[in-house]
């Protein structure tokens, strides 16, 4: 069994924080229970005032009791906030942490089934949805007890009014609030209309130049206004429906009061139904109305939590609800951060790369024939192996499948003759490091981006030099402490590429893997980088490239065509024996020299 039913999932979250959860329940009963004593006190007050049914205590004592009850309940509601707040934020943290951990454990290229933006909304909204559904459990539990107590008290006072007014109210309010499901569809329409407006605004400002050059801005703005109109209509429907449902909730107290007045007219005149009784019934009305709302919230919330749980596990292939609910110590309650993890030290001598072998490696993109089939490849310590081929030949796919960034469908990878069972977990420093074709940096300083948790600071100068980045960094206003901006926007593409290379150098792995540096680096800069890399003795490197300078350096070249190896060997040999290599060598149309040079 790989999935937990929603209630068992929630139960796991509760078992992680049983103390605060139980306390929250107790506080909820005390907080929501306030109307019960309050109604009794008001009843005693009015009945004593009119002398219809004097209570045993004086009216002053009743007022004091009223104040004490209110203040007590208010204080306890603070406790509820604290306990629920602790449980809520602790559970949110756990789910988000476990979800990201699952994504990081997967094959990075296909670890998410949604775009980063869409995935983010699951981390935010779906996780919220699951945890908020537990709030509904607490509120429901708190209310159910007081509603029972209130109903018992009222039944003993006047069974007819209780049954004729209160039970219908619970049913009506529950049904009306269940109609909130409809609300979800209105809300979706309204959000879709909103997305069309913001999407169009984005299009407008991305195409400003084209619009200005065609004097088309007035027409485009007219379209924006049309989309705005559609959004207004959708939003109106949404808020009108919400207002109607909310109105039922808030107005039910008034309608109930009216119904009580109608039914009690006779009894009140006859003195069988006192002003105090009336005050008590009206006080309980609100609590009971809320109960109907709570039932609906609980039911809708529970189902929503189930949907959200499905969306969360569907986001990360291979992740289960067990992974999500796994009890992990996060120390979020401790005010000071814990020490950073110690990343693995240098590879043990026995594990140091002697040779890496790939046999029959196969990965086809689902539903297509594109990919790689039966790739054989060997890299020995100290050698430079270059993978080359046309666009779409499968070069990047080969690197990804080898490093576990994609799940290989067949084939074996062995490290020093031992088969690697889980490449995704195996490859990485100190064994290997990789620079993707389009690397990404994160907000923060250049230095943090390069170190990414690697502890020693002094390695960074060497890494910057090795990555041919030292002059760029010196030219930056704050050197390596320069904040690179979201996704590194303040750096040029070439600088980002070399920062990613520096990320590898600080880790000094056994095997360097590069995916096509030429897309962002000019020939000269790339040459410097290779020079410095191979100045390090014993460097082993696997790279994708189509540049002549790189191919000339290679000890061995692997030529890919349509996902298969068509030839492998030293350049000189391939140039005489391999037609595809000859074509690639000759057809290398590479913008190499500058006009001004």
């Amino acid at each position: 069994m790989t999935t937990l039913p929603t209630w068992r999932f929630i139960w796991r979250l509760i078992r992680r924080e049983p103390g605060v959860f139980a306390l929250a329940l107790l506080c909820a009963v005390a907080t929501f229970g306030l109307p019960v004593p309050l109604g009794l006190i008001l009843r005693a007050f009015f009945d004593t005032l009119t002398g219809q049914a004097p209570a045993g205590v004086g009216i002053g004592a009743l007022i004091a009791l009223f104040v004490a009850t209110e203040v007590g309940s208010t204080t306890i509601s603070l406790g509820l906030s604290f306990c629920w707040g602790t449980f809520r934020y602790s559970s949110l943290a756990l789910l988000r942490h476990n979800l990201l951990r699952a994504a990081l454990r997967g094959h990075a290229v296909c670890a998410l089934t949604a775009s980063p933006g869409a995935a983010l909304s699951r981390f935010r909204d779906d996780v919220d949805e699951v945890v908020e559904s537990i709030d509904a459990w607490i509120d429901f539990f708190g209310r159910v007890i007081i509603v029972m107590a209130a109903l018992v008290i009222m039944l003993r006072l006047d069974a007819l009014i209780t049954l004729a007014v209160f039970l219908p109210i619970i049913v009506v309010v529950t049904i009306v609030n269940l109609a909130r499901n409809r609300l979800v569809s209105y809300r979706q329409q309204s959000r879709a209309a909103l997305a069309r407006v913001t999407g169009f605004l984005g299009d407008l400002f991305a195409a400003t130049l084209a619009l200005k050059a065609a004097s088309a801005t007035p027409h485009a703005v007219a379209r924006l206004r049309v989309l705005g109109e559609a959004r207004r209509r959708a939003a109106l429907k949404d808020s009108l429906f919400a207002a109607a449902v909310d109105g039922v909730n808030s107005n039910m107290v008034n309608l109930g009061t009216g119904a009580i007045l109608l039914l009690a007219a006779h009894a009140m005149r006859a003195g069988q139904f006192t002003v105090g009784d009336f005050a008590l019934f009206v006080t309980y009305l609100e609590a009971v109305t809320w109960f109907g709302d709570e039932i609906a919230r609980w039911l809708v919330g529970y189902r929503q939590a189930g949907v959200s749980l499905e969306r969360l596990t569907a986001l990360v292939p291979g992740a289960t609800t067990y992974d999500l609910a796994a009890h992990t110590s996060l120390n979020v309650r401790r005010p000071v951060p814990s020490a950073p993890p110690h990343s693995g030290g240098p590879a043990r001598a026995a594990q140091r790369l002697a040779r890496l072998d790939v046999t029959g490696l196969t990965y086809r993109y689902p539903g297509t024939t594109k990919g790689i089939v039966g790739i054989d490849l060997g890299v020995t310590r100290g050698s430079f192996v270059v993978v080359t081929g046309r666009i779409g030949a499968g070069k990047t796919t080969l690197l990804h499948a080898l490093l576990g960034l994609l799940p290989a469908q067949a084939g074996a990878i062995s490290w020093n003759g031992k088969v690697v069972v889980d490449p995704a977990a195996f490859f990485g420093p100190p064994r290997s490091a990789f620079t993707p074709q389009a690397p990404r940096l994160f907000s923060g300083t250049l230095r943090d981006n390069i170190l990414l948790g690697t502890p020693e600071d002094d390695v960074i100068t060497n890494a910057l030099y090795a990555a041919a980045l030292e002059r760029d960094v010196a030219a930056l206003e704050r050197g390596s402490e320069t904040v690179v901006g979201p996704r590194g926007v303040r750096l040029s593409g070439g600088q980002i590429q070399r920062a990613a290379a520096a990320r590898m150098f600080v880790r000094a792995p056994d095997l360097y893997v590069f995916d096509d540096l030429s897309s962002a680096l000019d020939v000269e800069t790339e040459r410097v980088l290779w020079d410095r890399l191979f100045a390090r003795p014993g460097t082993t490197c696997l790279a994708v490239s189509h540049r002549r300078a790189v191919l000339q350096r290679a000890d061995r070249i692997v030529v890919l065509k349509e996902g298969q190896v068509v030839a492998a060997g030293p350049l000189a040999e391939l140039l005489t024996t391999c037609a595809e290599m000859q074509r690639l060598w000759a057809g290398e149309v590479e913008p190499a020299t500058s006009l001004s040079e």
């Binding site: 007050f45 009015f46 005032l49 203040v71 603070l78 906030s81 707040g85 949110l92 943290a93 988000r96 990201l100 994504a103 990081l104 990075a108 998410l112 980063p116 983010l120 981390f123 605004l201 299009d203 407008l204 400002f205 400003t208 084209a210 200005k212 065609a214 004097s215 088309a216 485009a220 379209r223 924006l224 206004r225 705005g228 959004r231 207004r232 939003a235 109106l236 808020s239 009108l240 109607a244 008034n254 309608l255 009061t257 009216g258 007045l261 007219a265 006779h266 009140m268 002003v275 951060p337 990343s343 990485g428 990789f434 990414l452 040029s492 990613a500 990320r503 913008p591 500058s594 006009l595």
Partner: protein, 591 residues
């Protein structure tokens, strides 16, 4: 309370909608009145019952109560409708005006602000104003009315009860507005922690490959725990602060209720008040909580809205430097293009001076002069940053030259009306922007008057005939934003079709096919030929093949012309730069 900026917005966007505003005010008065009426009915009921009045009178009072409750519900829904409608109409108008204003601003403004940022300022800030527009004044007045009404009715009942609750209300307003600003601090910290967490997550989710590539998983999870801890601490604190704030108001009203109860006992025993009246003042006391809460909440919303209004005003205050000309229309037929000693420099203080202008050297063109006779084609070559693109922009008057003049058809472009200039000069850029809209809208750029047959003919002429026939809904087919689902060649041809439809006299191709691979480029060539036929052309390129059809060649370097002449003559002259380029086949390094 309302400063000038608020008044300006109200005058521009709410006053023109005064009938709805008046209706809203009427509905609000109705709601307030109905709310104040109901306790009076209950009091009448209780006193009548206590005095042994007729059952039929009691039943009628109860029915009236129910009627008022139902009417109240209906009026409230109607109020929501009118208020939301008003808010959306007003903010939609504001959004449209702001977008139009921003689109009219200079290109330097657009270099400095990303589309995402402008979306946030036009949609985000204006949406934050929606409540301000539709509800603020109305609710402040409404809450004030309810508060004053309840207090007035209490005073009418008994001056001591009225005075007591007036004092409590004032106290509650003061305490709550103080406490709220304290609570806002916590809420702000929680929001900041949440924004930091999701910013962090978005970047990591987009960078999973990079993280795995260098084995930084544990470190990323460690960083995540830091963000989660921040959100835990600030989120819980904010929750507690909110609940303490709630408790504080509750406590004030608890004391008020207790005081009213005691006063009621005293007055009842003194014979100054009936039991129904005691019940009434307890009801009114409970009723006071809502407007007091509402008023303090509006005070906070007002602060939030102020920030948005300030940003909207700032956006409006950005000036636009290009002034539309007033001259006559250009003559029909092919037009000559001429640059006379044109220099161009970005203003030093221009926001977002483009990065391609290296430190301080803001001068992009320097004394450039050339002439393209009607119906001929000029090829402009040069490396990135040499000023090629600026030529295109000056010609389309997206910027004005700092010195010199740009002439089209012998007339200074600054004298022409922009709409007329753009009708006769068409520009195709390297980036083809596809809108998330129908094929028709993408081609006409939302111009309503172009007949479908003309569009279909243009597509056929440019080699998109087969593509058009394959569209599921013809010209109504929706294209995905960003051009997903279109090949690069198709997107490029669509951009040509946009220009072709307007039948300009001058066509400027700015690196128009540089993104295409060689095979696709050949497919596009025929369309380029068709587009340039009988027109004056300027082709800005970094590939030599692209200027193959040019009559003359111009090579730019660092904003100056370094070579100029008929293409064939230059190609024959072995000492020319053009000839040596033709030999090496190499042009430039793409930045």
């Amino acid at each position: 309370m309302l400063d000038t900026p608020y008044r300006q917005l109200y005058r521009a966007y709410l006053l023109p909608r005064w009938p709805r505003l008046a209706l809203l005010a009427a509905l609000l008065l109705g709601i307030t009145g109905l709310e104040l009426l109901n306790p009076q009915i209950v009091r009448y009921f209780i006193d009548t019952a206590q005095a042994g009045g007729a059952v039929s009178v009691l039943v009628r009072a109860a029915a009236l109560f129910l009627g008022v409750a139902l009417l109240g519900q209906a009026v409230r829904v109607a109020e929501t409708y009118v208020a939301e409608n008003l808010g959306w109409s007003a903010t939609n108008a504001l959004r449209g005006d702001l977008a139009a204003h921003c689109l009219d601003l200079d290109l330097s403004f657009h270099h400095a602000h990303t589309p995402g940022e402008l979306i946030e300022r036009i949609d985000g800030d204006v949406t934050a104003l929606a409540n301000f527009f539709s509800r603020f004044v109305i609710q402040v007045i409404g809450s004030g009315l309810l508060l004053l009404g309840a207090l007035a009715l209490l005073l009418r009942e008994d001056w001591r009860a009225g005075a007591l609750l007036l004092a409590f209300s004032v106290m509650a307003l003061i305490v709550m507005s103080r406490a709220r600003s304290m609570g806002a601090r916590y809420a702000l910290a929680a929001r900041a922690a949440s924004a930091a967490l999701f910013g962090f997550l978005e970047e990591r989710l987009a960078g999973l490959i990079d993280i795995q590539a260098v084995g930084a998983r544990d470190y990323v999870l460690y960083q995540l725990r830091g963000h989660l801890r921040e959100l835990f601490q600030h989120g819980r604190a904010s929750m507690l602060a909110g609940s303490a704030l709630y408790g504080a108001t509750e406590s004030i009203f608890t004391i008020a209720t207790a005081a009213v109860l005691a006063l009621g006992v005293y007055l009842y025993h003194a014979g100054a008040m009936s039991v129904g009246a005691v019940y009434l003042i307890v009801q009114y006391t409970a009723m006071l909580r809502q407007p007091v809460r509402q008023l303090t909440r509006q005070a906070r919303d007002f602060q939030n809205a102020s920030a948005s209004i300030t940003r909207v005003q700032q956006l409006y205050a950005v000036p636009r430097s290009l002034v539309d000309g007033t001259g006559r229309d250009l003559p029909d037929g092919p037009l000559a293009v001429e640059f006379q000693q044109v220099s161009f420099a970005y203003a030093v203080d221009a926001p977002g001076n483009p990065a391609e202008v290296p430190g301080g050297a803001e001068r992009v063109l320097h004394g450039v002069s050339f002439r393209v006779p009607p119906g001929t084609v000029l090829g402009v070559l040069g490396r990135t940053g040499s000023g090629k693109t600026t030529i295109a922009r000056l010609l389309c008057r997206l910027d004005d030259p700092t010195e010199g003049a740009v002439l089209v058809g012998g007339r200074d472009v600054r004298d022409l009306r922009l709409a007329d200039l753009h009708r006769r000069v068409g520009l195709v850029t390297q980036e083809v922007q596809i809108f998330g809209a129908s094929v028709r809208d993408n081609l006409t750029l939302f111009r309503p008057s172009i007949p479908d047959e003309q569009i279909v003919r243009a597509l056929a002429e440019l080699g998109l005939g087969a593509w058009y026939l394959a569209l599921p809904d013809g010209l109504d087919t929706e294209l995905a934003p960003g051009g997903q689902g279109l090949s690069a060649g198709e997107a490029q041809l669509l951009a040509f079709a946009r220009v072709f439809l307007r039948d300009p006299a001058v066509v400027v191709l700015d690196e128009a096919s540089s993104r295409l691979d060689a095979v696709t480029e050949r497919q596009v060539e025929r369309a380029v030929d068709r587009l340039l036929a009988g027109r004056t052309g300027i082709i800005i390129a970094h590939r030599l093949a692209t200027v193959r059809r040019a009559d003359a060649i111009l090579i730019l370097e660092d904003g100056q012309i370094v070579e100029e002449g008929p293409r064939e003559a230059l190609a024959r002259d072995p000492r020319s730069r053009f000839a040596s380029l033709l030999q090496t086949g190499l042009l430039e390094v793409r930045a």
